[in-house]
Amino acid sequence: MLMIVDPTRVARRLRVRGVVQGVGFRPFIYRFANSLGLVGWVRNDGGGVEIEIQGSEPILDAFTQCLASEAPPLARVDSIEPEVIPPDHSRKDFTILPSVEGIVATAIGPDVGVCPSCLSELFDPQDRRWRYPFINCTHCGPRYTITRSLPYDRARTSMAAFTQCPSCDAEYRHPGDRRFHAEPNACPECGPQLSLHEPHGVPALARDAVAETLRRLQLGEVVAIKGLGGFHLACDAANGDAVLRLRVRKRRPHKPLALMFANVASVAHWARVSAAEAATLESPERPIVLLEKLPHFDDTLPGVAPGLDEVGVMLPYTPLHYLLFHEAAGHPTGTAWLDQVQPAIFVMTSANPHGEPLVQGNDEAFERLAEIADVLLMHNRDIVVRCDDSVLRVRADLPSGPGDAAGAGVQFQRRARGFTPLSMPLPADGPAVLAFGAHFKATLCLTREKEAFLSQHIGGLDNPAACTALDEAAEHLQSILSMRPAAVAHDAHPDYYSTRAAFALAEKLDVPLIAVQHHHAHIAAVCAEHCLDGPVLGLAADGVGLGTDGMPWGGELMVVDGAEFRRLGHLSPLPLPGGDRAAREPWRMACGVLHALGRGDEAIERFAAQPNVEQVLGMLVRGTRCPPTTSLGRWFDAATGLLGVCDTMTFEGQAGMVLETLARRFGESLALPGGFHIDKRPPDGLSVLNLYPLLNQLIDENDAARGAAHFHATLIDGLVQWIGDAAHATGLRRVALSGGCMHNRLLATGLRKRLAARGLAVFEAQHVPPGDGGLALGQAWVARALLARGVL
């Protein structure tokens, strides 16, 4: 250790903000200060971390400058505010002081996959945590999902129930230890324990819970496994009967199921994995990454993601996941097996009965999963906050952001575990706004100064448990950020549960309530993510959101400038026979198109299998319950219905996903000549992109894949010309693409490439989902812009 004696001792107080608690920041400061021979102290408080250092001025400068770059892997330093103070000559060493409670204004870290150091202990028979399923350290383990309130200390987590043994306590107290203040620190002597149960909670007879779980999986049973932010339902992916059993019990006939593999080497046999995808799979956040299936995938694993060319894959992230693979690998010693191909593949899908939020408590699991799981692998550490697995896609054509793997950008489908509650930076300070998001795929967003905190994915608010989860998440977010919103934002739809919750909170807090049009918010979310001030051209390629004229919008071209938006155009409207019914039944949308093209009589034969086809045609003729919608999502549905590949959906977005897969299977295709035209709509002069000619041609297409390819190519052509014309007319060069249809990779990459070729700067939602999962961020952005104008 370097020892510097400097008679001109100076002192400074540093306030460090960011993700600096629960990530090994204090031991790092302790070691760093000691290595430079500085004296002083470090402590956690409500504002983040406070440091006092004394020494020579150049060393102090070096310390301050290197703080951010040298910080531990999970830390994120947002700001360091130095203050000069008089030196205290009596101080002879550097110490870690106890945490102070105060006004909480810090960010807690997300849950992180088990780190390499812990893994090598886990598989070292000499280690006291050999095969201990709850091993963790300051670089890994649970955080957000076990924390009740801040500051982040063991007493405020669900680990408070476990008193550390002397060995653990010594690690926890020793500033040089990897487990110094690792709040969930535990060992087999003192920490949480596994237990195996039959349905309804009867303890299972098993000498070793992990070994018995594997045996049951190999028998083809469905196992509920308690994880970090919820339970998984697992089965042997290679056992078709087991997969089918899981699907039947979950009433999920077609929705793709996520898979867990031991490592990237094992994945590579089943799916294409680029370097960026491998790095993303292996990142400490351990998201589910959507990968392209290899051709033989469906020969062996046909039930996993039927009809789709992508599959969601993740790597183990809890020690327990690793123990299952370790068991399957035959108990090898050491960690070499972790890099070798392992044949075991498990389906790991969130354990929620159809449409409900994640199961959280043990008793709840016994009750709610009794009809679904054959056996339940439980533990006695409480889940405080529900958090699903995050789902994302790596796209080589997207710019990579900080924290992304090099060489490609990511686009989230669902942002939750590993990322919640990390904040997104905002360009400017502003009042605290709590935005309530959409109805399906609900999320919340709370802003604090120059940050926006997006909640985890909550689910569909047609379900009472999800509505309760939304209310709880709103409370929890306010509590862990210690923020009382100065305004509440919500969607303009009066019948979203989130709208009602927003009304209730605004009344309770007596703060302004701000309604934000759905597609304005979709575009604003992109503006917020990319810090785009000033006007942008926005394409909302979406399902249905309520327009300012009371109609269901969803294919909108608009200029968005903070609090303002102006509708420039929309897709030609399609009748929506039966409202939301039509969004689940593409055959209805197809009937709507046939009717509009004067070919309604063809529908009777085409959809003879549908008992209501005559009634639906009658509704179209009379205009009964057929509101016209400009939604692009419904155009996808109509095309899918006309091509006969999906009459009725069993999960949201199915039609579009099937159509996309078919189009990719067909390969490159040109747009159909005359497939669209762009009209000026009198009297308001809105520009209408008319896609009826395209669908008129698809009606007679007998090769569904070719039809799907033509649909995508022509749609992209039309959108590019439409947007290009608007860019020309408005002089705007920045285009924001958002809305649920932007989850379609073929559409997104096509638009991006073609618009960029026209010299436009293209922005997409990346770290928030382009669909309704990102809506809350956009609402907050709009509300902030309104408040900044002082209108409210």
């Binding site: 009965p353 109805h439 448990a465 309760t468 209310d471 409202g579 009964t624």
Partner: protein, 331 residues
């Protein structure tokens, strides 16, 4: 119908139509108001008023005439009161066919007579063409409520049973079918009916009944949500137990509507302590208007005052309180 200048003859004509149809001692007197006897000792007065607009005016199972009698009588009756008198005021649009008016008034009079409640006073105005939608009728009802009988939407308690007197959605669907010219195997008829007879039987059998409501506009969903809010409780329904006419269910299926959001005009919701549920059901089923009565759910402790439903598949869903018509939400 004409308006304004040639008014005197007109008003006289209308007066004659009404006078003949509703003929009774109070109207015959021709005064500005009706003088009514004081309630019996131990009784209090209940008054309710309701403006009726409906399109079409004539529909299977009824018309605006009987509807405006039933609607107001039911509002009085669900308070637990015995309806005594009705008052009616009409706004007619110039050019409204006299024959239609006569038909409506006759239907009103028949409904009032059947209910045993006289229309004791009334008024008519004719507005210029384009300033009304044919005919608007406002009725006011007066009833007598015994001291000690306290029914209110705020009285539901956790553990109580939720009972409905019959199939849901018939009225709204009959109107919709007529308006949209929908064809069915057999006609869907409005359930419009006066419920005070049924309610008298019910209250005689189960005086412990806590809440009575008629689920009119907004349907069962709106009414139960109101009760949950007023009482500060939750309500859990059992989808399989909710009676819906198969034709109405089929129509809802293709129209993409939820029968729980559709209006009823001859149904009631009763909430009572669970131990009296069977007696209450028996009393309802013994009456011609309650043959399809069913116990559909229970009142629960719920800080969020949710009305939810156990679905046929064992899941749960919110029973929504809609701001207006069912707007699409799927994005």
């Amino acid at each position: 119908l004409s308006h304004g200048g040639g008014g005197r003859a007109m008003v006289q004509l209308i007066g004659e139509i009404f006078g003949r149809a509703f003929d009774n001692e109070w109207l015959r007197r021709g005064d500005d108001g009706a003088v009514l006897p004081a309630p019996r000792p131990g009784e209090r007065l209940v008054v309710a008023t309701d403006a009726h607009v409906v399109s079409p005016l004539f529909f299977p199972g009824g018309d605006i005439g009987c509807l405006c009698v039933h609607g107001t009588l039911n509002d009085v009756a669900v308070m637990g009161a015995r309806p005594l008198y009705l008052a009616a005021s009409f706004i007619l649009e110039e050019g409204f066919p006299l024959a239609d008016l006569q038909r409506i008034v006759a239907s009103m009079a028949a409904a009032a007579k059947e209910a045993g409640v006289p229309v004791v006073t009334g008024d008519t105005k004719v507005v210029e063409k384009g300033k009304g939608d044919g005919i608007f009728i406002t009725t006011t009802g007066i009833g007598a409520l015994p001291v000690g009988r306290e029914l209110s939407g705020a009285n539901a308690r956790p553990g109580d049973a939720v009972i409905v007197s019959g199939t849901l959605g018939d009225h709204g669907m009959a109107i919709m079918a007529q308006r949209e010219n929908l064809a069915f195997e057999s006609e869907i008829r409005s359930d419009t009916a006066a419920l005070h007879g049924l309610i008298a039987e019910l209250l005689a059998a189960v005086p412990q009944t806590r809440v009575l409501r008629d689920p009119t506009r907004g349907g069962l969903a709106a009414t139960l949500n109101e009760i949950a809010q007023q009482s500060g409780v939750g309500i859990v329904l059992d989808e399989a137990a909710i009676p819906v006419d198969p034709q109405v269910a089929a129509a809802c299926e293709f129209l993409g509507l939820d029968p729980l959001n559709i209006a009823n005009e001859g149904k009631l919701i009763a909430i009572c302590p669970a131990q009296f549920a069977d007696a209450l059901l028996a009393a309802l089923r013994a009456h011609p208007l309650g043959t399809r009565a069913a116990r559909i759910g229970e009142v629960t402790v719920d800080a969020q005052h949710f009305v939810q439903m156990k679905t046929a598949f064992g899941g749960r869903r919110m029973v929504d309180w809609l701001a207006g018509e069912q707007l699409p939400r799927i994005c």
